[in-house]
Amino acid sequence: MRKGWIIGGALLLLVLLGVLTLGGQYNTLVQKETAVDAQWAQVQNQLQRRADLIPNLVNTVKGYAKHEQEVFSNIAAARSQLLAARGPEEAARANQNVDSWLGRLLALVENYPQLKADATFTRLMDELAGTENRIAVERMRYNQSVRDWNATIRVFPTVILASLLGKAPRQYFQAQPGTEQAPQVNF
């Protein structure tokens, strides 16, 4: 009988140890998932900020270049796409679309030297460039946290707990190759 107690006790200890490590892994999972969510919120902040800047920029440019309606309406369409985007991949694609139309707008600005000298325009361009830098930074940090998360839920032993809890890999903030150029022409 005593032997049975000893073995039983040893078993219980092992189980306790297992439960303890599971608890630690659970904390790891929660922390890393929170990090991904927080970083995604940062990316969204900056995308929102960019979207907020666009109407100001367009209005300023309109003051000098009235006859470029096509670019203006396309930028507006790209902007609302960006605002409506759900999930990292869609947002990344919409953001790229905005990129390409903003590029056209800025190429167009080259034809209006007075506009380039406008103080408001210079300030807006700084804000826009700063926002693009911020997007680049937050996107890099988001992708890092996603890489970390995706690795964590795939390696042993966290993979056991992760699959029990139904934790799935997250999407990177990047457009699928091949979908970059989706020029939407709305009139």
Partner: protein, 287 residues
């Protein structure tokens, strides 16, 4: 059953069946591997290492050697006084080259490697000059973004910095730029609260039984006298999660912050940077 015929004294534990066996196998496997699990985490953390950055020698770190000693000293003094009065850390840095990064990314990464500004307040600013690339960047900590906006940063560069740099007058360009930044930030005690950053809540869709397990662990940890002794993955993840100065995990040693780069004893002012962080705000110009 064969087991019945065995003597009672020798309990055939290898004949265990059912959930108990699974629990045993799982528990021993998990506890064995838990020790190893810290290794890939550490490897993943170091994988993101960027270029080698210079060590800060003060508020002014003139690696490119473009400042005169007198200008450097007086700027250093101003910046020390500025931190004393406002709590804001403004670092002026010159480097020969930012390759292989572009100057903005270099500024972002240098900012986070040094941790300019106070942790939590993120009230730091970096004025960076890249000599070979002929670029100058202002990188603004999260906490100061509402005050030193991108537009204002660009204006400072246009008005005070770039004209002097074009003349080749690095002393005037950097000193005037730093002073203009200080004027904008003056009267901002410690920087604004972090309006931009919102931490989202932790995962809410957690199964009840998982919480139960967590609670059990907690009770057991206390009963067994110390969570740390289990070597669980929890503390390992804190070490592995090397996101310099941003998340503010309690107990996480800020990789570069906390006065680790404190200047030599008697030096007035510079006590090392404090773990602040930035996210690409500010402006940049070529000259």
């Amino acid at each position: 059953m064969a087991t019945r015929k065995r003597p009672r004294g020798v309990w055939p534990c290898w004949r265990l069946r059912g959930p108990l066996l699974y629990a045993l196998v799982l528990a021993s496997l998990v506890s064995l591997v838990a020790l190893l699990s810290a290794v890939p985490e550490a490897a993943a953390a170091s994988a993101g290492a960027g270029p080698v950055f210079p060590q800060p020698v003060g508020y002014v770190t003139d690696q490119a050697g473009v400042l005169s000693p007198a200008a450097r000293a007086s700027l250093e003094e101003d910046l020390a006084r500025f931190e004393k009065s406002s709590g804001i850390q403004l670092a002026v840095v010159t480097v020969k080259s930012v390759a292989p990064l572009d100057s903005k990314m270099y500024a972002v990464q240098l900012f986070s490697a040094w941790g300019i500004g106070k942790k939590g307040k993120d009230n730091g600013v970096l004025l960076l000059l890249a000599q070979q690339e002929r670029r100058v960047e202002i990188e603004v900590g999260y906490g100061l973004e509402p005050v030193l906006t991108d537009g204002r940063a660009g204006e400072i560069l246009d008005r005070y910095v770039v004209p002097a740099l074009r003349r080749g007058d690095y002393d005037a360009g950097l000193a005037e730029g730093a002073r203009a930044i200080m004027r904008v930030l003056q009267g901002q005690p410690g920087g604004a609260p972090e309006g931009q950053r919102q931490a989202s809540g932790s995962g809410s869709g957690v199964a009840g039984w998982a919480l139960l397990v967590l609670f059990l662990c907690f009770v057991l940890a206390i009963a067994l006298g110390g969570w740390g002794s289990s070597g669980g993955g929890g503390s390992g993840s804190l070490r592995g999660g090397r996101r310099p100065g941003r998340t503010g995990w309690p107990g996480m040693p800020g990789p570069w912050g906390g006065g680790r780069f404190g200047g030599p004893g008697g030096k007035d002012g510079f006590g090392g940077f404090g773990g602040g962080s930035s996210g690409g705000g500010g402006a940049g110009r070529g000259f």
